[in-house]
Amino acid sequence: MSVSFVEKLECPRTELLFEESKPLFNKDQAVSEASRCLFCSDAPCMQACPTHINVPLFIRQIMTENLNGSAKTILSANIMGLSCAHACPVEVLCEGACVMNKEGKEAIHIGRLQRYAVENAYAKGINFFSKGNSTGKKAAIIGSGPAGLSCAAELARLGHEVVVYESRRIPGGLDSTAVAPYKLFSDAALKEIAFIQRIGIEIKTGITIGKDFALSELEKQYDLIFVGIGLGQDSLLKIPGEDLTGCMGVVEWIENIKRNNSFNPGSIQSAAVIGGGNTAIDAVRELKKLKVPKVTLIYRRTEREMSGYKHEKDRAAQEGVEFLFQTTPLEILGSGGRVTGIKLVKTKGEDGRLSVVSGSEFNFLCDFVLKAAGQEKLSGLFSQIKNLKIENGLIKVHPETFQTDNPKYYAAGDCVSGGEEVVNSVADGKKAAKAMHQSLLKGK
């Protein structure tokens, strides 16, 4: 019997303080929303989805109240259709491509409809997929994030023996440890994983490949290996004071929120998040939703140059987040080992060329600092794999097959792309599986 990871979640988790920003539709809401869909021919939404879910079809199936059919349409294209329904930045993907936008009408709420179909089908306990006829071939998956799970699910459906190795106690990668709780709760992510397990894949947690289990051993036991280990720890700012209590990496902090209640928002008066990407925006919104009185995002470049989505930044501003643009930290200030503020300096210059404005230093008072300057690249494991080609810390793969320069290894997800969305990892993990399948069959 497969392990139930939902039960391994600690109960008092900070994430439970959040409210969902897009709650589950009821039937009436879903059917009337689905009825607005035009059922476009050669639909742009379907093109915009990296996993190319047949959006018009699944929406039509909701309209006709065939929820099982709808969920099957979604999941056969995207095995993590539930997570994606919650986590995808639909504004720039399917909903952004909806033709309704062109007429000045509200785009169809594709994400919420997708959630409605899959969540209801899952509530009935339906397993849509089963293991294919056994091929006698074995594949190991390193990392149980979206890339690894998507690859594993596809390989199992094609009849291969699949074991997923995960260093953490609970699987899911960033999908279960990092996605903002108002979008997706950990238990929802883990419930989805339970359905993926039931296709017939084994997930072994608490095993770090290359440390607890040697690669050479893995190579012996499996015909092919897929690497989906994502990225590493939060990058350092490399300024004095980073080790003060009250200063931490953003991904680590969000993982705490999603796993336990060690974070005490009540003790904080003013929080600062340093960075301009989506993770930084997620973090300021999370802090605000946790009722921290003053929350400030500090970004060294201009607003226009932020890599985070504008719609998310606008929401943060509406929620009361303050912004300091063209400002960069020089030192985290503290007393008695605790953060008391940041020494900042203004910057100038646009489009890459950045310089500090001399004499513009000032002290910003705050008692909590999150560093959102990106995640480190994982190089430890890579160096143990023979012939692996690494560029800028990322694994180099064939663009269609996702095979690495070492033919036994395939890779996809953040460790290849440098960090995209859940849905991209799902799409690429599946493509890799298809190519691995071809290779495994040839080897028979």
Binding site: L38, S41, D42, V99, M100, E103
Partner: protein, 415 residues
């Protein structure tokens, strides 16, 4: 401001909107409330030998999330006693002398008809409506649509009523026949003062795919009922039009079937209706909808400069012709306005499947399609599926040829 009052064969009404005989006109409470809110008249729920109803009675057609696009019912005629009905009719008429109050009747024997024509008129009825239209339950007992489907029987029963009645008599027609002109003509020939149409259409609104019972399910079984509401309007319009344009037709028509807005009402009037009856729409939204009906009708008339309803009643009748009288030299072709197009490509799919395979996706990298003007047969399908208003229009093309009907064309083809 336009005068929207009517005089229907002597029955005066402050506006043409009457509640149709049905669940809205069961009691004095309802009819009084309706008159207070602005209804011009009401046709009392059909009085007859009291019956018993089943639970439940209604089934609704929900389409794309829109409820009651059609309604189906298996309600019978009144389930109240004669005494209750006539007493309340009297109360209403006494309190509302200016509103039109008609009483719908359904009986079997001549003796019964005689008695109740008198009792209804004594209670104050301004007119009588003979229910020859109910398509369920009553027809199995030889009444309702069983009468409306047999012109001979219709004539006989109507003649009894005309013999005893001192007020105008309207015959309510059933649409469950192959040619509405036959019962219509029968009613006119025998001297009815008006006809009301349509009553409901025999129908099964749906089957419960889990219990295998028609809906509404009465303990696991269902029956056919009468269909009404917005979905039946096209059928009703045709039947009203078919009577209006029949040579020799002169009887007044009370138009019924799917009327919900002022525009529906105007359409019925343009096809000749002299009063309008509403059932489903008021069941759905309540009596208050009459406000929109009265105001909309009046505003329409003002915008067109019509002072009375008679001024424009029947104006569309002469334009309702046989297919063989249409102009074969009239041409339209579809044209897409690329500025409005939202690139859904529904027109491409529709024309490819059910049109003439002449809308194509552009080569220039946009998703805006174009129409091959040569191949377009002007069928109109694309402009109907296009979700954007006025994006696909049917442009008239002048062939420079005279009006040519199929009849004329055949003659020239033969010679």
């Amino acid at each position: 401001m336009a005068d929207i009052s009517i005089n229907f064969a002597g029955i005066k009404s402050p506006n043409p909107f009457w509640l149709a005989s049905g669940p809205l006109t069961n009691t004095a409470y309802q009819v009084m409330k309706a008159f207070d809110l602005g209804w011009g008249g009401a046709v009392w729920k059909t009085v007859g030998i009291p019956i018993v109803n089943v639970y439940s009675r209604y089934g609704g057609l929900t389409y794309h999330g829109n409820r009651l696009v059609g309604l189906n019912n298996n309600e019978l005629i009144t389930d109240r006693s004669y005494e209750e009905n006539y007493k309340e009719i009297y109360q209403v008429k006494k309190k509302y002398p200016k509103n039109a109050l008609l009483v719908s009747l359904m009986f079997e024997t001549k003796q019964e008809w005689k008695e109740h024509v008198k009792r209804a008129i004594d209670s104050g009825a301004d007119g009588l409506e003979l229910n020859f239209g109910c398509p369920h339950g009553m027809c199995e007992r030889g009444m309702g649509s069983a009468v409306g489907q047999e012109p001979k029987v219709l004539k006989e029963v109507t003649s009894w009523v005309l013999e005893y009645s001192t007020v105008p008599v309207l015959v309510k027609l059933t649409p469950n026949i192959s040619d509405i002109r036959e019962p219509g003509m029968a009613a006119q020939e025998i001297g009815a003062h008006g006809v009301s149409l349509i009553n409901t259409i025999k129908s099964i609104i749906g089957i419960d795919v889990d219990s295998f019972s028609p809906v509404p399910s009465v303990g696991g079984k269902g029956t056919n009922g009468g269909y009404c509401g917005p979905a039946v309007k096209p059928i009703a319009l045709h039947m009203v039009g078919a009577l209006s344009r029949m040579p020799g037709w002169k009887t007044l028509i009370s138009g019924i079937g799917g009327i919900q807005t002022w525009r529906d009402a105007v359409e019925f009037i343009l096809l000749g209706a002299a009063s309008l009856q509403v059932c489903t729409a008021a069941m759905h939204y309540g009596f208050r909808i009459v406000e929109e009906l009265n105001q909309g009708l009046s505003d329409y008339m003002d915008s067109k400069g019509f002072k009375t309803i008679e001024e424009f009643r029947g104006k569309a009748v002469k334009n309702y012709v046989e297919w063989g009288d249409l102009n074969l030299n009239y041409r339209v072709k579809a044209e897409i306005n690329p500025k409005k197009c939202i690139e859904c490509q529904l027109c491409v799919a529709a024309c490819d499947a059910g049109g003439h395979q002449c809308i194509h996706t552009s080569q220039n990298g946009t998703r805006v399609p174009y129409v091959d003007q040569e191949a377009c047969i002007g069928c109109n399908l694309c402009s109907l599926v296009c979700p954007v208003e006025d994006c696909i229009t049917m442009k008239e093309i002048d062939l420079g040829k005279p009006y040519l009907t199929w009849r004329e064309y055949q003659k020239t083809a033969v010679s």
